[in-house]
Structure formats: structure tokens, C-alpha cells
């Protein structure tokens, strides 16, 4: 699956770097490098609801605090 994190200015200010770092760590910790492709993109045109993250084209609104839950519920549970 492909996870894309918005790294445009607005999402960056709301913590997209922390989300990227958490996801990078979690993917590595769970040995999912082959199954989960992380990517960044500048702006998803939905700045008000940032940080915007898409998982195979489905849009989610995350914060650094909700990233672990997102990983557990949307990535880990589906990939295994």
C-alpha cells in the first residue's frame, strides 16, 4: 500500500514531519518496508483539515498524536 503525507507549508506547520518520522519508525519496526511505501507531496488542496495523509487514495486527517492509532488501525491491521 502507498501512504502519502502532505508536506506543504500548512501541514508542515501542523506536524507533518513528526508524522513522517513516526511512520518511518513504525514501518521499520514492523518490518513492513516491502509492503508499505511512504511518500510525500506538496499540498493536497485540503489545508484546513491537515495534516492530510492518503492511504491508497483515501484521505485521512492526522496529527502527530493520532498517527500511532492510524498506523495500527489502517495499516497494520490491513497489511497482515
Amino acid at each position: 500500500m502507498k501512504v502519502t503525507i502532505c508536506i506543504g507549508s500548512s501541514c508542515h506547520l501542523k506536524g507533518s514531519r513528526q508524522i513522517v518520522e513516526q511512520l518511518q519508525y513504525l514501518v521499520k519496526e514492523n518490518h513492513l518496508e516491502d509492503k508499505v511505501e511512504l511518500g510525500g507531496t506538496f499540498c493536497m488542496g485540503n489545508c484546513v483539515n491537515g495534516v492530510n495523509v492518503t492511504l491508497d487514495d483515501k484521505l485521512y486527517s492526522l496529527s502527530p498524536e493520532t498517527t500511532k492509532d492510524f498506523f495500527d488501525n489502517e495499516i497494520l491491521s490491513k497489511v497482515q
Binding site: I5, I7, G8, S9, S10, H12, L13, S16, R17, V20, E21, L38, G39, G40, T41, F42, C43, G45
Partner: protein, 482 residues
């Protein structure tokens, strides 16, 4: 006309203002699909019933016609982006050393004694005259005159061009040697008649905006140089960002993030190779390639910050188009290079951005403030001389390379300072292992495409740097997928 308060002043000179008016109208006509009428209507819009600059309205309108031609992209046969408008060139006297009215007709006649070629004669009032058939332009007479009555008359364009790419053609107009010119734009900014102009790509940008179909068919990105923090001082930076989006750009990204990426990679390259020159300034790179080809192998292999971030955008957003907006005329050469062309679709200057805003009647001061925050402090200070070297030093530290490699950087701003360093490097006598080369005085903030140039610009850039959320280069580039 009353002088506007400095904070509301959009340009340094009336020449820039004139150029801007033409660009603004050409952009307006392009947006409205009326370019067919540009040549017949715009000259009359700008030059009304009475001449204000030249001998008659016909010449003024003819020159405006030439400015329209430059706004439309200039001479396609000429590879250089800097061109002379010959009918606008005032063919300034360039007689070299001359005796001015300040000559008192004194009796000491130091000038005569100082002249080794016997070129000084005196009239019946004891006033000095220089025999041009003998004079060798050594300047000794000017040095010894107690009244400073002997002056060196040099053309402003030739004076601005420290690499001597400008001479006089057979008709007396300025002529640019493309083999020497590095497209830095110093002459463009200095010519008091606006006779040397950088070609514009605003039509391409208008086209990119229109064809994006409101960013439905492709996403159009603006990559802005960090020197933007010293520009548009009548509005807030956030309002400028919103203005760019109002023009039709999908999103604005800092070239400074590309600078963070470059600093990180350049530090590693430097530590590995032991000696390097920067590759950020396209005029500096061009100068090395033309004048010091033996040093070419030492130019950093990194793309410029603008090209680096544009490449990243294109790799992560399929179909995206990128326009670089900055202070630089040489960038208009760089983006046409084979290795940059895939990443940057067009380049405009801050001058041209102002023209685009006004062609759409976008009043920056009335806009909401957008946000711009991608880069670190270090990426942002690339805009001023010394910033690049500071960033490379930091990047060495962040990668733990400062233990094994000692950075000895020399920061050169202005092409003369660059030349001195390169000359020494070519003779292996430069006491440094890294040359930061910027062709413009002060760095990019001194660029010819800036709206305004001032003492405060460096402080503006530093302030903008400190406002960055990310404090280290590693953090700024940490979120980019490798």
C-alpha cells in the same frame, strides 16, 4: 510628483517602473487573449500625448514596442537572455578621461607633470585639455588634480560589467559579447536608459496558468527564492504567497528547502573531494566554465537549490509543472540547460511577479496571509552572502564530518571577488577549500530581478531565517523520502 514613502515604493528606479508597466500590460493582454493588439495599443497606453523621456512620442512608442518584444520573449535567435535595445541606448559618451568645467586654470599644472605621454595642453585661460590621440587613459592626471577636475567618463553598462562583456558597436550602441556574458543582469539594473533588458518568459507562465485549467489538468507549483523575504516590503510575505495562489498557482514551495538538500549533499561531497566551489549561482558557474575551465571539475555536482526542489516536486507529483520565481536573470539561462530543463518549466523575476499581480489587479495588501514554511534557517539564509558557507558548515556538523574535515570557506559576493578567489585557486594559492561564489553584490538579495535593493535586505533575510520552524538542516530534509 510627490515621492512615495519608502515602504510603499515598489521599485528603485523609474527605468524599472517603465519596464514593469510594459510587462504588466503584456501580461494583461495575454490573460485576456488580446495579444494581437499589444503592439498597436500598449505603446499608446504608456506614452500619452507628450514625450516625457525622449525627443518625441514616436521614439518613445518605438522603444515601448521594443520593450513589448522583450516582454514577449525577445530575439529567439539570440541564446542570451540579456539583450540590448539599440534604439533605447543613449550612446553615452565614453570618452574616458576628460577635463571638466571644474578646471580652474591653475598655475601649478600638476596634470601636465603627471602625464608621461605629453597629452595635456593648455588654452589661453590656462585650462587643461587632453589630446585623445596621445592619451593612454592611465588616470594619473585625474589623481593629482587638486580640484578633482579630471573625470573618467565610462558608460554605466560597461562600468557595471566587471567581466568586460560590453563594448561599443560600430554605431556607438552597447553590444554584449555572448561568449563572455554570464547573464548576471548587472548592466540591466545599471543602465540609466533601460536599454539593456532581460528577456521575459511571462507569456509562458501565463500559458502554464491557463492550461492548468485551475490546476485540474496539472498542478502548477511556484518555487520561490528566499530573497523574497526582502521584497514586496509594502505587504506581508504571507500575502505575497496568497497572491501567487490567486494568480492560479496550486502551491508555493521554498527554494530554500532545495538549499537545505544542497547544503547537506554538498558538505558530504566537499569532505570527500577536499576542494569545491558552490554551484548555486548560475552566473558564477557560467563564469567558471567560460573563464576558468580548468576549475570546472571542482564545481559541486549538485543541481542548484531551485532545480533540486523542482526535481523533488516532479518526482513526487506526477505531471506537476514548476515555475521558479526569484531575483535572478541568470536563472533564465540555467533553466534552459539540458540537465535542468526537465525540472523547471519557466523562470520569472520578482519584477515580473509584480507585473503579473497587477495585470490581474491583485492587491496584496487586501489579501489574507498564507503560510510558507518548508525550509530551515540555513536553507533560507542562502539568499545573502555567507549563508551558503554557514549552511555547509552546519551540514558538515550534522553529519559528523566536522571531526575529520576542517572547512575553510571563502564567501565571495560580486563577480570581482569571485574572480580573485578563482584566480588564486587556479594557481593553487587560495587559503581555502570551499568557494561560495555569488555573482551579485550581497548575494541573491542584490539580484537584478529584485524590485528593490537596500541595506535592510540582509536583516530581512536573517529574520526570515530565524522564523523557520525547522532549526536544523537534517530536520528540514528529514520528511523528504529518499
Amino acid at each position: 510628483m510627490a515621492t512615495k514613502p519608502i515602504k510603499d515604493r515598489k521599485f528603485d528606479t523609474q527605468v524599472q517602473y517603465l519596464k514593469y508597466k510594459v510587462l504588466r500590460e503584456v501580461a494583461r493582454y495575454a490573460f485576456e487573449d488580446r495579444l494581437m493588439d499589444a503592439y498597436t495599443e500598449i505603446p499608446k497606453l504608456i506614452v500619452k500625448e507628450k514625450p516625457t523621456m525622449r525627443c518625441c512620442i514616436y521614439k518613445e512608442r518605438a522603444i515601448v514596442g521594443e520593450r513589448i518584444r522583450m516582454a514577449l520573449g525577445g530575439d529567439k535567435e539570440n541564446p542570451n537572455v540579456i539583450e540590448v535595445i539599440d534604439i533605447a541606448c543613449d550612446e553615452c559618451p565614453m570618452s574616458g578621461y576628460n577635463v571638466s568645467d571644474a578646471c580652474r586654470g591653475c598655475i601649478a599644472h600638476r596634470c601636465e607633470d603627471a602625464c608621461r605621454v605629453g597629452a595635456i595642453t593648455f588654452d589661453e585661460h590656462l585650462h587643461a585639455h587632453i589630446d585623445k590621440s596621445k592619451c593612454v587613459e592611465c588616470g594619473q592626471c585625474a589623481k593629482v588634480c587638486p580640484y578633482s577636475a579630471i573625470v573618467n567618463q565610462k558608460r554605466p553598462c560597461e562600468n557595471a560589467c566587471k567581466i568586460k562583456a560590453i563594448s561599443m558597436d560600430e554605431n556607438g550602441a552597447a553590444s554584449i559579447d555572448n561568449e563572455t556574458c554570464i547573464s548576471c543582469g548587472a548592466c540591466v539594473y545599471q543602465c540609466p536608459f533601460g536599454a539593456i533588458v532581460d528577456k521575459s518568459f511571462i507569456l509562458d507562465v501565463v500559458d502554464l496558468i491557463k492550461k492548468s485549467n485551475h490546476n485540474e489538468d496539472y498542478k502548477l507549483y511556484a518555487v520561490v527564492a528566499p530573497s523574497i523575504s526582502s521584497q514586496f516590503s509594502y505587504a506581508k510575505l504571507g500575502q505575497v504567497i496568497t497572491g501567487i495562489q490567486e494568480l492560479g498557482f496550486f502551491h508555493v514551495v521554498e527554494a530554500a528547502l532545495g538549499a537545505d538538500m544542497v547544503a547537506y549533499a554538498e558538505a558530504a561531497e566537499l569532505a570527500e573531494k577536499g576542494f569545491l566551489t558552490s554551484s548555486c549561482c548560475p552566473a558564477f558557474v557560467d563564469y567558471i566554465e567560460k573563464q576558468y575551465p580548468q576549475l570546472k571539475e571542482h564545481i559541486s555536482h549538485n543541481l542548484s537549490p531551485a532545480a533540486t526542489i523542482a526535481k523533488y516536486i516532479k518526482e513526487t507529483t506526477p505531471g506537476a509543472k514548476v515555475v521558479f520565481i526569484g531575483p535572478c536573470t541568470a536563472k533564465k539561462m540555467e533553466f534552459q540547460k539540458e540537465k535542468v530543463r526537465p525540472y523547471i518549466d519557466s523562470v520569472i523575476t520578482f519584477e515580473e511577479l509584480q507585473a503579473l499581480f497587477d495585470s490581474r489587479d491583485i492587491d496584496l495588501k487586501s489579501l489574507e496571509e498564507g503560510v510558507l514554511d518548508n525550509a530551515s534557517y540555513y536553507g533560507r539564509i542562502f539568499a545573502r552572502s555567507g549563508g551558503l558557507a554557514d549552511a555547509v558548515k552546519q551540514a558538515l556538523k550534522e553529519q559528523g564530518l566536522d571531526q575529520s574535515f576542517e572547512l575553510k570557506a571563502i564567501s565571495c559576493d560580486g563577480i570581482e571577488a569571485c574572480r580573485m578567489a578563482l584566480l588564486k585557486a587556479s594557481k593553487n594559492v587560495l587559503p581555502a577549500n570551499f568557494i561560495e561564489g555569488m555573482a551579485c553584490i550581497g548575494g541573491c538579495i542584490g539580484g537584478a530581478g529584485c524590485l528593490t535593493h537596500g541595506d535592510k535586505n540582509k536583516a530581512d533575510v536573517d529574520k526570515y531565517g530565524r522564523e523557520a520552524m525547522e532549526k536544523t538542516i537534517s530536520d528540514a530534509i528529514g520528511m523528504l523520502q529518499k
